[in-house]
Amino acid sequence: MAVSSKGDLSFLPLGDRALLLEAGNTADPETVSRVRALADYLAQLHLPGVLDLVPALCTIGIHYDPEQWRDGSAARSPYELLVERIRTALPDPATLVSSEGHAREIPVCYEADCAADLPALARKLGLSRSQVIDIHSAVEYSVYMIGFAPGFAYLGPLDARLVLPRRKTPRTRVPAGSVAIANQYSGIYPGELPGGWHLIGRTPLRLFDPSRTQPSLLKAGDRVRFSPIDAAKFRRLQSEAQ
């Protein structure tokens, strides 16, 4: 397959209307932040016919209209022309800096009704419930990517003491605002969705609202801190958010 690289960057096709720009092959924080810096840089280039830029852990999906990338001859494909354009436009990835991202505080109720999987999860991890809560809410996370559902944020890195595979049987319905963990990530369910992550808390914030200019509260690159709240405060904030 046609793979071309610039420094550590490689390009590869994702069908005839999209391509992937790969910034590395391990999902370490360095790669993730390089992906973000590249996505920021690409966004401000406003390349013609580019319809969507989708940053993930190691790659950026670039969706484009191939009709906008033709040079009149059939010698070079729209893919080749667009890749060449991006390669020339990109500076040395080492010199790229990603924007700071917003710092967001997410209030989370870790109490019984909001945390269906917390007791079982704590047992499996050999920790007490309050230890899980302390570990989960102690650090600042980075938003690695948004995906799975509108506004669903993958946050990391998760403390190694909390790493556990997904539930064997996914739930058909996870309540909106559920704060969950699985593998190396923490996430927040923006709406009522099916899901296989372990539910350890719930936030009253609206993570996704199509009437906002930025519909998703979180963006890749934002920094997130969870602050524990009690059930009474959860209910109050929830009724305010409606």
Binding site: L14, A56, A149
Partner: protein, 339 residues
């Protein structure tokens, strides 16, 4: 102009060409499953390619026209009829107020596109009028049609000229006799290609293709697959020979496209369609060539298909040829309307 929904049909929703520019917020593109048919329907109704129309699926709705309305029907032949008389497809049609449009069986394909002169007037959500039911975005209150809904057609757009040039259709005797009138000409469609079984679907190799065992690659390109009953606008689940993805180590979730063929652990490939998620974490066999997505979108559960590997450059040439053909159709429609 208003159309009332008497019966909603199995899954009838408002769709345009999709919600682009929002995938980095995790918002799926959605839009018409058969974007080619939607574009043609819109041109026939005097609209821009991207105007909102109805996507009708398998078992169509019953609609009542409360005003004289210019419509165009394309895509699969689902036996559309105005008060029992077959509604001619692939051309503009004036329908008189008080008439009812209903659908029958799937003769070819399974999705029809009903465009209205002026386009459906619903507020765009995040830049598109497409309905995405799972997150209740766009369309009519974010959901498929239900009985009692009223579809409002935008009045004063560029479709005005199409209406004017087609309005003489209303003077034809058929308009008063049958309740609708249509020109003799129509856009040519190759029905036999829609009926081909197994349908031939071309694809471009995906990033994990060369890591798959040779036997798996050979099976994927030589065996027939069937569209499973659990397929929907999000993805087509395929049944046939089970394909082993093998040990590939960790796969990081990343962007997927319309037509990405994923291989989940159960070995049954899934082709991602209009309502696909923005990212996916399964190994990928490849991506369906966009030229064949309209054919794929017209396959219904139980239909057989076969995959054929082509080069990316060829896929892009085919896509270009299709875009050129579409422009020619648009030009011939203009010519037909000014006759």
């Amino acid at each position: 102009m208003t159309i009332e929904v008497i019966r909603p049909g199995l899954l009838t929703s408002v769709q345009d060409l999709g919600r682009f520019g929002m995938q980095h917020f995790g918002v799926p593109v959605s839009g018409a499953m058969d974007g080619y048919a939607l574009r043609v329907a819109n041109r026939l109704a005097g609209n821009e390619y991207n105007a909102a129309a109805l996507e009708v699926t398998l078992a169509g709705p019953v609609l009542e026209f409360l005003d004289d309305t210019l419509v165009a029907l394309t895509g699969g032949d689902l036996e559309a009829a105005i008060d029992g008389k077959p509604l001619p497809m692939h051309r503009p049609v004036w329908v008189a107020r008080g008439r009812r449009l209903s659908f029958g069986r799937c003769i070819t394909g399974c999705r029809a596109y009903l465009a209205f002169g002026g386009g459906i007037d619903v507020a765009p959500v995040l830049g598109s009028r497409s309905t995405y039911v799972r997150a209740a975005l766009g369309g009519l209150n974010g959901r498929a049609l239900v009985a009692g809904d009223r579809i409002i057609v935008a009045g004063n757009t560029q479709a005005g000229s199409a209406r004017a040039s087609c309005s003489k259709l209303r003077d034809l005797p058929a308009f008063s006799r049958d309740g609708f009138a249509a020109p003799r000409w129509s856009v040519q469609v190759r029905t036999e290609r829609l009926l081909l079984r197994p349908q031939r679907i071309r694809f471009v190799a995906g990033r994990h293709w060369e890591y798959l065992k040779a036997g798996v690659r050979a099976a994927f390109t030589s065996e027939n697959f069937q569209v499973s009953a659990s397929s929907d606008r999000m993805g087509y689940r395929l049944e046939g020979v089970r394909l082993e993805s093998g040990e590939r180590g960790e796969i990081h979730s990343e962007a997927v496209a319309f037509g990405t063929v994923q291989l989940p652990p159960d070995g049954n490939p899934i082709v991602l369609m209009a309502d696909r998620q923005t990212i996916g974490g399964y190994p990928r066999l490849g991506e369906v060539a966009s030229v064949d997505l309209p054919l794929l979108a017209q396959l219904k559960p139980g239909d057989a298909l076969r995959f054929e590997l082509i080069d990316l450059a060829d896929a892009q040439e085919l896509a270009h040829a299709q875009a050129v053909a579409l422009e020619q159709i648009a030009a011939s429609i203009e010519a037909g309307m000014s006759e």
